[in-house]
Amino acid sequence: MRNRPILIVIAGALLVCALALISATQTGPAFVGRLAAATAALPDQQGAGRKVSVRFTTARGWPTRHPMLTPARDLTELERARIAQAIAAIPGVGGVHWTDGTMLASGDMDIESLRCESELLGVLAERTIRFEESSAEFIPGSEELLDELATAMRPCVGAIVAISGHTDTSGSPKVNLALSQDRAQMVRRELIQRGIPGQNLIANGFGSSRPVEGLSPADPANRRIEFRVVSMETSRPTPIDTPAAR
């Protein structure tokens, strides 16, 4: 029979598949149980406890090394990153997924930039930098807030922070755009004066083009300054700065 070697190879492959399936059904649930126990033993701030529920089964109920995390309440991106990294670091655990799909954990997640952003947002949580109407001059009191912001930014070595100025729709769009740019520049200048390196601060004004989500564009609450950590990379010399070989 000419096809005999092929048949033997196929039979071998089927046998190997059957052995793999049998060993998976025998050892899989116990293995996954150990992973779940290790996850449950994580400290609370890393999220094993009340913040998320962790499921080590696929949608069809088969045991898997790739856990599905369901947040028990609204979590910040930083909390999510910490939780996902802590769980992904358990030996044997594969990629971590969130059931709401907003973030996938991977080994090289930029947790530092999230931490910096979270600290800046913490300073700005209940207060905001205020300006005199139609001017880029600070209202008294904003100076202390700027001091706190500078203190929060100092440990974020290498973080590139984007400062964006926004206004409401009152007045002409052209004036608003210029005003928002002036305000963002003003904040940048003040932070530089407080010792933050200027090359790590980018100031942009958007006028009234980006209102706060859920607010009417005319709402005065749209007059604001926002901070976002753009990257944690330290600036690298451009080809112009780097002389080529002659």
């Binding site: 071998g12 190997v16 793999a20 399936l21 088969w62 045991p63 090394r65």
Partner: protein
């Protein structure tokens, strides 16, 4: 991905490597003087 599926893929990969090495060994054996 379920553990069973991962194990099947791993086992098939190992089987293919084994077959390849076996074929290589058979080829070398047939070349001997």
């Amino acid at each position: 991905m379920a553990i069973s599926f991962e194990l099947v893929l791993l086992a098939l990969a190992a089987y293919a490597v084994g077959l390849g090495l076996g074929a290589l060994a058979a080829g070398l054996w047939s070349l001997r003087k």
